[in-house]
């Protein structure tokens, strides 16, 4: 009895430690649900010093591509610095606003082969990846009953305009499962009206649970733990044999793997240094964006005759 008690106590200790670690140096990997609760949007107001520190730590969610790839053998401080300089140069030319996986974006880009030399594509962001200048995102929409996905490099100079039509988050970090969901979940009209979120509001989280199409699928979704899939309905498409295989592929120990967590994230101190370099410029750009947003939100009253 005594022994069991001791073991249980030590286990809970480990769990607490893990949670602490997650809170401390978490950037990308941990489950998004826990992160969302903490997110407070950076405000345009002048912030006190302690607030600013907090703010610069929140930047990792708003501008994740400023953090370098944590793989140690690929890191070089000078390359990272040069990359950041180039990123800020590009940002001075085009407005690249804050958006998340699950937000609806419209990208206007120049295309050599289009008649008007420009194309506009609207879709839901289903993936954001890459660091530095190679940061990219994938937009998905269903047009004429055909699913279309386009990958854009965020810092590509061909991007003329990036409009956030609807700023929101989903329950997951990537939404590739929309490929195998019913088409209505990834269908958005191309002339969608932009929704402007009031200042200081937390980012809304869309808790839609998508219904999957019958198999065949792009991946083994029944083995994953995506929150945004309606699991009960999905399991109706899964055979008994596949259900038996689910526990074989589970890796419940991974959330306790502190070294894995450490290797796949940038330490807090380094994050602060990185954002200290670019914060002032980003803040200026943000203020500019706020001004333009206010202009857009204000509708000129019509003259009543």
């Amino acid at each position: 009895m005594l022994l069991r008690n001791i073991i249980q106590r030590s286990l809970t200790k480990v769990r607490v430690n893990v949670q602490l670690q997650l809170e401390r140096r978490n950037a990308t990997v941990a489950s998004p649900v826990t992160l969302d609760e903490n997110v407070v949007r950076p405000e345009a107001k002048e912030l006190s010093k302690s607030d600013q520190k907090f703010n610069s730590l929140q930047q990792r969610f708003v501008y994740p591509e400023f953090l370098p790839n944590p793989t140690l053998e690929w890191r070089n401080p000078i390359r990272e610095k040069l990359e950041r300089i180039d990123m800020m140069r590009r940002r001075s030319q085009v407005d690249l606003p804050e958006f998340y996986v699950g937000s609806i974006l419209a990208v206007t880009s120049s295309t050599q082969h289009a008649v008007s030399k420009q194309t506009r594509f609207l879709g839901i962001c289903i993936k954001r990846e890459g660091c530095g200048l190679r940061a990219s995102f994938v937009l998905r929409n269903v047009i004429d009953h055909i699913g279309i996905e386009i990958r854009y490099f965020l810092y590509d100079p061909k991007i003329l305009k990036l409009d956030v039509i609807k700023l929101e988050k989903r329950l997951d970090d990537e939404l590739y499962y929309l490929r195998d969901a019913l088409p209505e979940y990834s269908t958005f009209p191309e002339d969608m009206e932009p929704e402007i979120l009031p200042d200081g509001m937390p980012i809304p989280i869309n808790t839609t649970k998508v219904v999957m199409k019958p198999r065949p699928w792009y991946a083994r979704w029944e083995r994953t733990h995506f929150q945004g899939i309606n699991r009960e309905l999905m399991m109706t498409h899964v055979s008994e044999k596949m259900k038996m295989q689910i526990p074989l592929h589970e890796k419940p120990w991974e959330k306790y793997d502190l070294m894995k967590q450490y290797r796949s994230t940038i330490p807090e101190e380094e994050q602060k240094d990185i954002f200290a370099e670019v914060d002032s410029e980003l803040h200026k750009l943000e203020l500019l964006r706020k001004k333009q947003k206010r202009k857009r939100a204000f509708v000129k009253p019509l003259k009543s005759s």
């Binding site: 401080p77 000078i78 390359r79 140069r89 050599q112 100079p157 003329l160």
Partner: protein, 389 residues
Amino acid sequence: MAGICNRLLGLNSFKGLKVFESTVLQHGCDCFAVTQFSGQVRHKGPPKPKLRFPLWYLQKTRVNYPEKITPENREFIKEVGYEKFGPPAVISGISTFQTNSPLKDQPLQKGVWTPKSRRCGLITRKIGLYPMWSKSGEPVWTTLLQVVDNHVVKYIPPEEYDPARKSVVYRKNHSLGVLLVGAESCDPQKFTREYCGLFAPAGLPPKRVLGRFFVSPDAALQPGTPLGAMHFRPGDVVDVVGKTKDRGFQGVMKRWGFKGMPGSHGVTKTHRRGGNIGGGGEKGRVWPGTKMPGHMGNRTRYLRGLKIWRINTKYNVLYVQGLGVPGGTNSIVYIHDTCLPLRKIKDESKAPPFPTYDPSVDDDLPDDLYDPEIHPLDSPSISFEEAKK
């Protein structure tokens, strides 16, 4: 010791013992001496070595034994070093010494560039890869090579240069001299006295990396001359040399891209093996050069004809075409003008900085120099003109 060996071999000849002793003294290796002794003595005197190490191939590092130096003395030694080589400084992102006037003597007379002259190369570190975009909107993937604190250490004119390994058709009137270039200044206490002595005539601190470049005599440089990224210009074509990543002992699938064998359908014990390695009959042996498992990587590899798309003058970084530069990130890469006959500069009006870039020519260099085809990221977004109706 000779006695013990003789006893082991069962020898007691007095003559044998004498020869044996002399060989031991020469080579300092027991096994070698034992094999030497088994045959007849044919040579009179020691044979001339076919292979010699070059003169800069010296014992570099020393054993780091505890020297029991007091902290005050340690500080003093540091100060002496700073007095000799200048105070420590971070120059273009690299920690080094701030050597104010490295040139002891008058600089050599500047030659005039001709299509036949060969310039010095640079020692760089591969610091990563990232994309740029051309003016037509296409991504251009580049490798970033940072020139790491390069200085000329020594110049050997062609008459004095005696190569360590002569080729079969060795030209006696060899027309190329040798420039020894060092990169990354270090604390002299880390190295041996003889290694530090290599740099003393040039008034330089010891360098971590050395490189040798064949140059034509008109491109010779004064020892102590600093070399930077502006040695090249955007648009120039270069060759790079580096050591590939060490992958260890690998099988044929990874090393040579063999297909392996099926994973199932009755196949046992041979899924990743190479299969047959030779025929029978007259060719009944393994032919030389057959692709087999073995050590992969850690070999010197060349990549020729890479264009320089951009130069960062602040951090001395060259943005070189492509992702195939040998070696991993933070590995050493040597870079020099291309030797490809169709991509060499032949026009004298397009002569490169010769013998190297003179920093006193223009004071206010921009931080970034681009090839005209590249779209600088601080210029407005790319937009194509509409076709005329």
